[in-house]
Symmetry: C2
Subunit: 308 residues, 2 copies
């Protein structure tokens, strides 16, 4: 049978606190550091609290969103006194874990995030990557009690703006719903299990195990929808109760999308059926995003194993 072969995945980075008020990743990284989890068989594990100033302040960021700073343009921009803290921090992280796109970059970069949306456990990454997708397939097969999904953003590497794009392979693990600044045990356990399963997968892969191919369901980002707003830019409506908490459920033209403060329903209008996600994510109010829309698709994975 055909098999796609890869070099061993030996250098892994597990990152948390890229958004300082998404606490699950912060505490998982601290716990791994406490347990001195830096070597697992042949795999070296680097754990990084990526935005310590934002974490200390329990805010998403101090000057700008760190997880929008990993484009080639920002990573290579000259720094001045006026350069935001997060741009300087992104460049430091790129030195430590990258450089992005180079042979020196870590083999796999996992960045841990929370959302206030009812997203369950979602792996997010950019271009098609069989390692990422096989890890997703593995996690999904083991975590049968919670919804495990994958979202592909399909942005070219140079424009890929988030931390996981610095690794040769990599993904964000997004788990919710959890309020910012709060730690829930259920969310903690979901994310910790996903991290542990990733490390188990790596050990099996590096020891020569062949992972069989097959089909996986995936979502691909299409576009974003803003809240209804008045002339001053203030929102005039909230997510409709029928859409709230219904991430990854089909949204059709005519379905209720918003409920105005005075009580009127605003319907969704679109020619195509899409899947909403990041519905009512706290941090997206300022980004003018009420929810994203995605397409559901199926990826056919090859069997993969070690290059001999």
């Amino acid at each position: 049978m055909e098999k796609t072969c890869f070099d061993p995945v030996l250098r892994v980075a597990i990152c948390g606190g890229t958004h300082g008020n998404e606490l699950t990743g912060v505490y998982i990284v601290r716990e791994l550091q406490k347990q001195k989890m830096d070597k697992l068989g042949p795999v070296s594990v680097t754990t990084v609290l990526t935005n310590p100033r934002a974490t200390d302040a329990c805010r998403r960021y101090v000057e700008m969103d760190l997880n929008r700073c990993f484009t080639d343009a920002l990573l290579s921009s000259p720094t001045t006194d006026g350069t935001p803290y997060e741009v300087r921090r992104a460049q430091e992280l790129n030195v430590q874990l990258g450089p992005k796109g180079s042979e020196e970059a870590v083999d796999l970069l996992i960045d841990l995030h929370n959302t206030t949306a009812n997203m369950g456990l979602t792996l997010i990454f950019y271009s098609l990557d069989w390692i990422n997708l096989h890890i997703y397939k593995y996690i999904q097969s083991k975590m049968t009690q919670v919804p495990v999904r994958v979202l592909q953003l399909d942005v070219a590497s140079a424009d890929a703006y988030s931390l996981e794009s610095v690794g040769k392979h990599g993904f964000a693990i997004e788990v919710g719903p959890q309020p910012n600044g709060v730690l829930r045990a259920d969310i903690f356990n979901m994310m910790k299990t996903a991290v542990d399963l990733t490390l188990t997968w790596l050990q099996e892969f590096n020891s020569g195990h062949t992972f069989e191919g097959g089909e996986v369901e995936a979502f691909t980002y299409v576009k974003s929808v803003d809240y209804p707003r008045d002339a001053a830019g203030e929102i005039t409506a909230v997510i409709h109760p029928e859409l709230q908490d219904n991430d990854f459920q089909p949204l059709r033209s005519g379905d209720p999308a918003f409920l105005s403060f005075s009580g009127e329903t605003v319907k969704h209008e679109d020619g195509e059926e899409f899947y909403p996600l990041f519905v009512n994510e706290c941090a997206y109010y300022e980004k003018k995003i009420a929810f994203h829309l995605a397409r559901r698709t199926t990826f056919t994975l090859p069997s993969i194993g070690l290059r001999s």
Copy 2:
């Protein structure tokens, strides 16, 4: 039949944004202002965004928690250049809506709050107050689809630290769970319904209706419980899944209270059965409170009506 009589309740203040990231009250106050809801029959309604700087920043507070600033001591403290913004703002609000404890104070002050805890709709106030408790009984009788409860803090007026203590009568309406910085339609509708019912009750009361007495269930604050912490003061555990979201359900000695980051269950130990509330409230991490404990009790209300 015996009846306790009161003067009409004619001057009402509805306040939001005392915590700037608890958005439901902010948007209800803005909506009432947009609708120019300043007179309802003989009742004058004052709507106030109480902490505009914190609201603009979408943070709980700027320099200190405004809702701890309404003690007699802070309200009468001389201001200097170093006085925190919120202390100055509390003194301004005391001039506008009080002075606390005086004949000039508004008759009823309602302050709108959110919590990340699964509290449903909870009215919170200080000493026993038949007006407050009759409004609670009325709201509870009308809102049968959601849990409506009351919490009495039993703090002397001089030490009462929150905004509602400035009115002759008054309570906070606390609705959750909702993440800070997020607006949920279900939470918005619950709080808006409670505000509307309060105004309806006032109209009936002022028009001479007698409200029959009876018994109501209530919770009275007993004490607070902190998270397990290490020598450096860092938390070492989160709320246990069996306690999470179970506000107002009895907690007995031996019940699981916390789950440590390394996976051990920490049991609750106490000689008496209490009712936990504000379980995993975001803002209480810095206050070193994992949850409050309360006693369940029954208050017997007299019938009340207008003084003739």
